[in-house]
C-alpha cells in the first residue's frame, strides 16, 4: 500500500507553503486603534425619518413637469402640421376604397372628409370616409341621416365650429368630425339639387341656385344658420350660368385660413390615387367634375 499523501493533503501542504508570504505581522494595539476609529458603512438601508417626503416631492415635481411637457407637445402637434407642403405635390397612400366624383372637405385637424360613390358610381351607394393624408389611413363615416343615392350629396362646406354642412337633393345634413356621424337638418326653403355653397364670414352658409324638380336651374338662394339649424330665403340671383354654378361661387379669403394640406384626386372616376398639396388658395372643398 502506497504511503503517498492524498491529493487533499498535498494541496493543503502546497497552500501552506504558498501562504508563507502572507503579511501576517501586525501591531495589535495599532490595529485596534485603527479599527475602533474607522467608519464602517451600514449594510442595511432603511428609511430615515423624513427621508420619504423629499422623494415624494421629487416624484410629484417630475409628474407635474412631465404632464406639462406632454400637454405642450400635444398642443404643438395639433397646431403644426407634420409637414408643410408649398407648391409641392407628393404621392400619398390610396383611399381604402375608390370614390367617384367625390366631395372633399378639409377638416380642422387636417383630415379630409371624402363623400362619393364607389367605382363607376352606377348603382353604388354614396359613402363617406375620413382620410388622414399624413398616415394614409381611412375611417368609415356615417351612415347618412337621409337616404342618399350617388348623385344626391353634391356639395359640402366646413362650418366655423368644425362641423361640415353637406347637401344634395334636398337632404341637408351636418357631419360631426368627432363622432363621424351625420345629423339631418332642414327642411330647406326650396328643394334644389347640386346647389352651390359658400361659407359666409358670419358663419352662415349661402346656398344658391341648383336644379329644381323639373331639372331647371334656380335663380333663388337661401341661408343656413348653423346655430339654429334653420334655413331662410335670401335675395335671388339675376342670372344663372354657365352650367355649373359651383365653379362661380367662393368665399373670399379672410387671411386666417390655416395652412392645412388638402387632398386632390388624380382623375375622374379613379379617385383612389391621392396626392397632397398645400395651395395658397382655398382648399376647404372641391369637386372633380368632368
Amino acid at each position: 500500500m502506497s504511503d503517498r499523501p492524498t491529493f487533499e493533503t498535498q494541496l493543503r501542504l502546497a497552500l501552506s507553503t504558498y501562504v508563507a508570504d502572507a503579511p501576517v505581522g501586525v501591531d495589535p494595539v495599532a490595529m485596534t486603534t485603527f479599527a475602533s476609529r474607522a467608519h464602517v458603512p451600514s449594510t442595511s438601508w432603511r428609511f430615515r425619518r423624513g427621508s420619504l417626503l423629499p422623494i415624494l416631492v421629487g416624484l410629484l415635481v417630475v409628474a407635474v413637469v412631465g404632464a406639462a411637457v406632454a400637454l405642450v407637445a400635444s398642443r404643438l402637434d395639433q397646431r403644426t402640421p407634420p409637414r408643410t407642403y408649398i407648391d409641392e405635390v407628393v404621392s400619398a397612400p390610396d383611399l381604402s376604397q375608390e370614390m367617384t366624383r367625390p366631395v372633399l372637405v378639409a377638416l380642422a385637424d387636417g383630415r379630409v372628409l371624402v363623400i362619393g360613390a364607389g367605382s363607376d358610381g352606377d348603382g353604388r351607394p354614396t359613402t363617406a370616409l375620413v382620410y388622414d393624408p399624413m398616415t394614409g389611413s381611412s375611417a368609415s363615416a356615417g351612415p347618412f341621416a337621409s337616404p342618399a343615392d350617388p348623385e344626391e350629396i353634391s356639395a359640402a362646406v366646413r362650418l366655423m365650429d368644425g362641423r361640415v354642412f353637406v347637401t344634395g337633393n334636398g337632404a341637408p345634413q351636418i357631419f360631426d368630425p368627432r363622432t363621424l356621424q351625420f345629423t339631418a337638418v332642414g327642411p330647406m326653403v326650396a328643394e334644389r339639387t347640386d346647389p352651390a355653397l359658400a361659407l359666409l364670414h358670419d358663419g352662415r352658409v349661402l346656398i344658391a341656385s341648383g336644379l329644381d324638380s323639373n331639372r331647371e336651374w334656380l335663380l333663388s338662394a337661401e341661408l343656413f344658420d348653423p346655430a339654429t339649424h334653420t334655413f331662410s330665403a335670401t335675395g335671388s340671383m339675376a342670372t344663372v350660368g354657365p352650367a355649373y354654378p359651383w365653379e362661380a361661387i367662393a368665399t373670399l379669403p379672410d387671411g386666417r385660413r390655416r395652412a392645412l394640406p388638402c387632398v386632390t384626386f388624380g382623375g375622374f372616376r379613379h379617385g383612389a390615387s391621392v396626392s397632397r398639396c398645400r395651395p395658397l388658395s382655398s382648399c376647404d372643398s372641391g369637386h372633380d367634375r368632368p
Binding site: 491529493f7 498535498q10 494541496l11 497552500l15 486603534t33 485603527f34 475602533s36 467608519h39
Partner: protein
C-alpha cells in the same frame, strides 16, 4: 480616516461579573468595546485571516488592505456574533469577504513572476517549489469565490458546516462545490503525474 466615530456595540451578554476569562469572555469584552480584548483577538487571529486573504488576493499589499478593512468591520459588528466559539470562523469569513471585495475593486489578479515565487520557498524541496509555482498559476485561473472556498477549507481549516454558516448555503452544497473544485485542481495540477 475621515470618520472617527466609534460604532455602538450591543453585546448579547448580561452577566458581566460572572463571565470566565476564556475565549468567550474575550469576545464578549471586545463586543462591549474593550480594546485590550480586541487586541488579543487580533494577536490570535490576524495570521489566519491574512493567509486566507492572501490566497484570495494573490499579493501582500491587497491582502494587507483587505485584512485591515476586515478588522474595522469586526470591531463594528462583533456584537452580532451569537456563538463566541465561532469567532475564528467568523473572522476569517469577514477577511475572505473583504478580500473578495478588494479583488473585485482591483479587477485583476496580481501576477508574480516565477523568480518571486521561487524566492518565497527558499531552501525547500525543489519538488515543492515547482508545486507552488503550479499552484499560483492555477489559483490565478480560479474565480474569487472559488479561491475563497479553497482558502476557507484548506487554509483556515473550516469544515463544510462552518463554511456554510459563514458564507451561506447548505453544508452539502459546500461539499459539492468543493468536490467539483478539487476535481478541476487535480486535473490542472496533475499534468505531469506528480499529484495523485
Amino acid at each position: 480616516m475621515g470618520h472617527f466615530a466609534g460604532p455602538v456595540h450591543q453585546p448579547d451578554v448580561t452577566e458581566i461579573a460572572t463571565e470566565p476569562a476564556t475565549l468567550d469572555g474575550t469576545v464578549q469584552r471586545a463586543a462591549r468595546g474593550d480594546e485590550a480584548a480586541f487586541a488579543n483577538l487580533i494577536s490570535e487571529h490576524h495570521a489566519s485571516m491574512s493567509r486566507v486573504a492572501f490566497v484570495i488576493c494573490g499579493d501582500a499589499e491587497t491582502t494587507r488592505d483587505a485584512v485591515q478593512s476586515a478588522w474595522a468591520i469586526a470591531w463594528a459588528r462583533i456584537g452580532s456574533v451569537r456563538d463566541p466559539s465561532q469567532i475564528r470562523a467568523w473572522l476569517v469569513a469577514v477577511a475572505a469577504n473583504e478580500a473578495r471585495q478588494a479583488v473585485r475593486r482591483r479587477r485583476r489578479i496580481h501576477i508574480a513572476d516565477i523568480a518571486d515565487a521561487n524566492a518565497l520557498v527558499g531552501d525547500d524541496d525543489p519538488a515543492d517549489r515547482i508545486s507552488v509555482v503550479d499552484l499560483r498559476r492555477v489559483l490565478r485561473g480560479l474565480t474569487a469565490d472559488e479561491r475563497t472556498l479553497l482558502a476557507l477549507r484548506y487554509v483556515a481549516g473550516l469544515d463544510s458546516t462552518e463554511i456554510a454558516a459563514q458564507i451561506g448555503g447548505s453544508p452539502s452544497g459546500i461539499r459539492s462545490r468543493l468536490a467539483r473544485l478539487l476535481d478541476r485542481l487535480r486535473i490542472d495540477l496533475d499534468h505531469d503525474g506528480a499529484w495523485r
